[in-house]
């Protein structure tokens, strides 16, 4: 394929999201041997789907009876896309990413701060005469006695189950983190 071809342009059709390109095939015999043939591809500028090379290429590089041979066949290559899919996908992805980031910030920064406040608060309680209450209820030192009491009576089992599941998940992730990052036994 050795076409020189200046003035080559890409077609764009106005209206709609589809884009059309038109190509014209020009069979040109270079040698007299039957085995060899050369094809050149020119792009034509088109305004609508119905245009073809014959009417649109200016100035015509060949004249007279060769014009028909020059633009023997025009093929349109049809391309389409779906911008709605792209929009929905990007929005879904960014929202999941945002939620994960918020949860990560909560887990790494906010929760220890809240726990510290509760811990600090219960330390204050323990220093008062509620020590006996804490000990007799057998509650872990860094849980607020009042909160735990109220929670176990008023909230149903669903929240406890969620807490429980979350604690189990955290422990699993901790185990995984130890084997991958600390002990380097898996996935090194």
């Amino acid at each position: 394929m050795g076409a020189g071809g200046e003035g080559v342009c890409v077609c764009v059709c106005v209206g709609g999201e589809a884009r059309y390109e038109q190509t014209c095939l020009l069979p040109v015999l270079l040698q007299n041997s039957e085995d060899i043939r050369c094809k050149c591809i020119f792009l034509c500028h088109c305004i609508s789907l119905m245009d073809n090379c014959l009417h649109v290429v200016e100035p015509m590089p060949v004249d007279g009876k060769d014009v028909e041979a020059y633009c023997l066949r025009c093929e349109c290559k049809y391309e389409e896309r779906s911008s709605g899919t792209i929009k929905v996908t990007i929005i879904i992805y960014l929202s999941i990413l945002g939620l994960l980031l918020l949860y990560m910030v909560y887990l790494t920064l906010l929760e220890p701060m809240l726990k510290r406040r509760l811990f600090g608060h219960s330390q204050l309680i323990q220093s008062d005469d509620e020590v006996g209450v804490c000990v007799s209820l057998n509650i872990a030192p860094f849980a607020n006695a009042h909160n735990v009491l109220s929670r176990s009576h008023s909230r149903p089992n669903v929240l406890n189950k969620v807490e429980h599941a979350q604690q189990r998940w955290r422990r699993q992730v901790q185990e995984q983190r130890k084997s991958v990052f600390d002990r380097h036994v898996v996935l090194s």
């Binding site: 394929m1 050795g2 076409a3 020189g4 071809g5 080559v8 342009c9 890409v10 764009v12 106005v14 999201e17 884009r19 270079l30 040698q31 060899i36 050369c38 591809i41 020119f42 792009l43 391309e79 389409e80 896309r81 779906s82 911008s83 899919t85 792209i86 929009k87 996908t89 990007i90 929005i91 879904i92 992805y93 999941i96 990413l97 994960l100 980031l101 990560m104 887990l107 790494t108 998940w169 699993q172 992730v173 995984q176 983190r177 084997s179 991958v180 990052f181 380097h184 036994v185 898996v186 996935l187 090194s188």
Partner: protein, 773 residues
């Protein structure tokens, strides 16, 4: 005497083969099954024989009840079709997730350069898709797409805007990489790495709990996009296989046929990995062959058909989502059909040699680096390491236009041959035509200055990619290897192709070129060299053969070029094997010490079973259980004092004749269950593994029958069995342990770990590196 006859009949049954013992098994199963027996601990190997027996048992039960009522019939139909249902769901999910990953990765990649003001969710190409103002020479410029320099500084050209673009590129790359590694560390540490070595091990029978779970799936999908978008030298094909296997695992939990049986689950995982490669490359047949050749351990014919179905469903879903904006599924579609000539086999074979050499070098360097990361303090700072590698990659990659762009786009550009539609720098040949006289008698074209500049940049890009991929593969973010190796091969191939083309131009009167290059036709197609180089490098590093050729010709659509591809892939495999028999995935398996018995290696040593079995001479004697002599307390004592996974059960200490094999986990669960459910089980209750309780004095507590957990048909070999046969048995049957007898008496035990250690010792490697059971 009655005891002896009872013992004798037991012995006959245990040696009578599988059929006899399965009937005793059936009787025992009809007694209430103990919940929890038959499951496995984390980081342990499954017992393939037991799982397959369980599945056949289940199938027989369902079939026998089929004729009873319409409900049972429907249940049997559901059971038969549940396999297809799982595989369909897996294909759907994989296709959908792959579409999400492709679209999001394309968008985030271009976010480093600029934004589309009219629609923020479009990347560069989509933004300028409908624009009227693109010209041929500048197809990428349109007013809706603004680079960061334009937005911030207000001007698009000039040194100030170049520095601003540079700075924003580095900023985005670092923030994406930092986000990725933080998410992996906080939520799912198993989501890092490629995933293929671990999946290979899981498919061979290993259990890693959580590796194919929901959180791993979500984090792997999200962080894969971030890792690819940060410009690191990695690809998304390996992680997509992991994502597909996670989907397969999650869906198999909906069906008890697959969730309760580890062997059946692995059939689903084989099909899922085929779906993963199918959506990664748009190559369904290549995906099935990849699953067969690289990933799966046991691949029965039923799995072949299911894998093909899964790959097709996944490819179909991906096509209907249509992420690339055209209805082609193929990534690097080549549209040329120029023939190749016989003398071109020489540069193709040279490219194969390059691929093999690079593969061997990469494997050695990457394993050395990963070993250093594993054992020194350097591995304690994964987040810092990721940020450092991303920073170096971004700083060095930006100035060179070939490394700045997306690696997939680079490969596409290198594969595409220069036609009148191409305006890239690589295609700026000096034109010889001036109007009417179209052709001289020289078929090729001389390179213009653009091509020489492009060659220099490509050489620098090649060196950069070779060095950076060594440090990038194995980072604690999802990272794949296929696209970087194909890029390295494509760059090398294109350079060789252009060199051969110029050689043909300047010396067109040489015998070689004059004979074969016909006048008037383009002789050398550098794009084809790039394709062959890519296949050679990928083959050199993974040592795939048939699946690689099929993947590459499905990727490019170039069916005429199978012979050059095969020549290059064969050469690269031979050259690579001369330096070391392992591909990159087997090397990582060995680095991590997973218990993977490679089916491709031959065991050629002449050792006997008694040289490998335990206990050795210096070890304490074999821990055995007698069939009706022990009390619960003694049994618990044996279990607590030792750390073995299973114990052979013998008739008595004097005769040492074998009855069966019992697993530690099953014994523990059975004892706990009995103490909870049955009354009267005390510490000095007798434990018996026989069918009938032994005669006990009248005031003794109720005895505990543990026959249901006993495996009555353990595999045995004699001590003079050659190790070749033992290794063959382990491989073919998927055994975990094998008992060694001498003259009919129990002598010792060989486990899979012992075999792996022995093979490592024979190959002069460190036998202590085998870590898991």
């Amino acid at each position: 005497f009655s005891a002896v006859t009872v013992v004798g009949s037991n012995y006959a049954m245990s040696n009578g083969g599988g059929a006899a013992s399965s009937s005793t098994h059936l009787l025992d199963f009809l007694e209430e099954p103990i919940p929890g027996v038959g499951t496995y601990d984390d980081f342990h190997t499954i017992d393939w024989v037991r799982e397959k027996c369980k599945d056949r048992e289940r199938h027989r039960k369902i079939n026998s009840k089929k004729k009873e009522s319409a409900w049972e019939f429907t249940k049997s139909l559901y059971d038969a079709w549940s396999g297809w249902l799982v595989v369909t769901l897996t294909g759907l999910a994989s296709g959908a997730l792959a579409g999400l990953i492709d679209i999001a990765a394309d968008w985030m990649n271009d976010l480093k350069e600029g934004v589309c003001l009219s629609a923020m969710w479009f990347n560069h190409e989509q933004c300028c898709w409908t624009s009227n103002e693109t010209t041929f020479a500048e197809r990428d410029k349109c007013p809706q797409w603004k680079s960061w320099a334009e937005l911030i500084l207000g001007q698009a050209e000039g040194p100030g805007s170049y520095i601003m673009n540079y700075f924003m590129y580095i900023y985005w790359a670092l923030s994406f990489a930092f986000l990725a590694v933080c998410l992996v560390k906080v939520f799912a540490p198993y989501a890092c790495g490629s995933g293929i070595p671990e999946i290979k091990t899981i498919l061979s029978g290993f259990i890693i709990r959580g590796y194919l779970g929901k959180w791993t799936l979500m984090i792997k999908t999200i962080t894969l996009v971030l890792a690819v978008a940060s410009g690191l030298s990695l690809g998304k094909e390996g992680p997509l296989v992991h994502v597909a296997c996670c989907c397969g695992n999650i869906f198999s939990y909906l069906f008890p046929k697959y969730s309760k049986n580890e062997a059946k689950k692995r059939e689903v995982l084989s099909a899922a990995s085929a779906a993963g490669v199918s959506v990664a490359f748009g190559a369904p047949i290549g995906g099935v062959l990849f699953s067969l050749e690289e990933v799966s351990y046991y691949f029965p014919l039923k799995t072949l058909w299911r894998s093909f179905f899964a790959a097709l469903v996944a490819a179909f879903v991906l096509r209907s989502i249509n992420p690339f904006g055209n209805s082609r599924l193929v990534l690097f579609y080549v549209e040329y059909h120029t023939p190749w000539y016989l003398f071109e086999l020489i540069p193709f074979i040279l490219l194969g040699v390059f691929g093999g050499l690079w593969g061997a070098f990469f494997i050695r360097a990457n394993i050395a680096w990963c070993r250093r990361r594993k054992s020194t303090r350097f591995g304690k700072y994964p987040v810092l390491e990721v940020i450092l590698v991303a920073a170096i990659t971004a700083v060095v990659a930006f100035p060179n236009p070939y490394t700045r762009q997306n690696t997939s786009e680079l490969i596409k550009e290198l594969f595409t041959d220069c036609g009148p539609l191409e305006s890239s720098q690589l295609c700026q040949y000096r034109s010889q035509m001036n109007g009417s006289k179209a052709f001289t008698d020289n078929p090729n074209r001389p390179a213009g200055p653009g091509v020489y500049a492009a060659m220099w940049q490509l050489c620098l890009a090649l060196i950069f990619k070779i060095i950076m991929t060594i440090f990038t593969f194995g980072l604690k973010v999802p990272s794949g290897l296929f696209i970087p190796s194909m890029a390295i091969g494509a760059i090398a191939g294109r350079i060789v192709g252009i060199a051969v083309e110029q050689l043909a131009y300047y010396h067109h009167d040489w015998f070689l070129f004059k004979e074969w290059c016909e006048v008037g036709a383009d002789c050398i197609t550098p794009g084809l060299y790039a394709m062959v180089g890519a296949a050679a490098c990928l083959g050199g590093v993974t040592r795939m053969t048939v699946s690689l050729v099929v993947i590459v010709f499905e990727l490019t659509g170039g069916l005429e070029y199978i012979v050059p591809l095969m020549a290059a892939v064969m050469t690269s495999k031979w050259v690579g094997d001369a330096f070391g028999r392992e591909g990159i995935y087997e090397a990582h398996i060995r680095l991590n010490g997973y218990p993977f018995l490679d089916a491709k290696e031959e065991f050629t040593h002449t050792t006997l079973a008694r040289e490998v079995m335990r206990p050795r001479r210096s070890d304490p004697p074999l821990a055995v259980l007698t069939q009706d002599d022990l009390t619960v307390e003694e049994l618990q004592g044996i279990i607590n004092d030792t750390s073995y996974n299973g114990f052979p059960v013998i008739v008595s200490k004097e005769s040492q004749r074998l009855v069966g094999f019992a697993l530690r986990r099953d014994i523990t669960i059975a004892i706990e269950n009995a103490r909870r459910k049955q009354e009267g089980i005390m510490l000095n209750s007798r434990v018996y593994f026989t069918q009938h309780a032994p005669t006990l004095p009248a005031d003794s507590p109720r005895p505990l029958k543990l026959r249901s957990i006993l495996d009555m048909s353990p595999f045995t070999v004699t001590d003079h069995t050659p190790m070749e046969i033992v290794v063959d048995i382990f491989r073919k049957l998927g055994l975990r342990q094998c008992l060694v007898t001498h003259n009919g008496r129990l002598l010792g035990i060989i486990t899979k770990k012992d075999i792996l250690r022995h093979m490592a010792q024979m190959a002069n490697q460190d036998p202590e590196s085998i870590m898991f059971n």
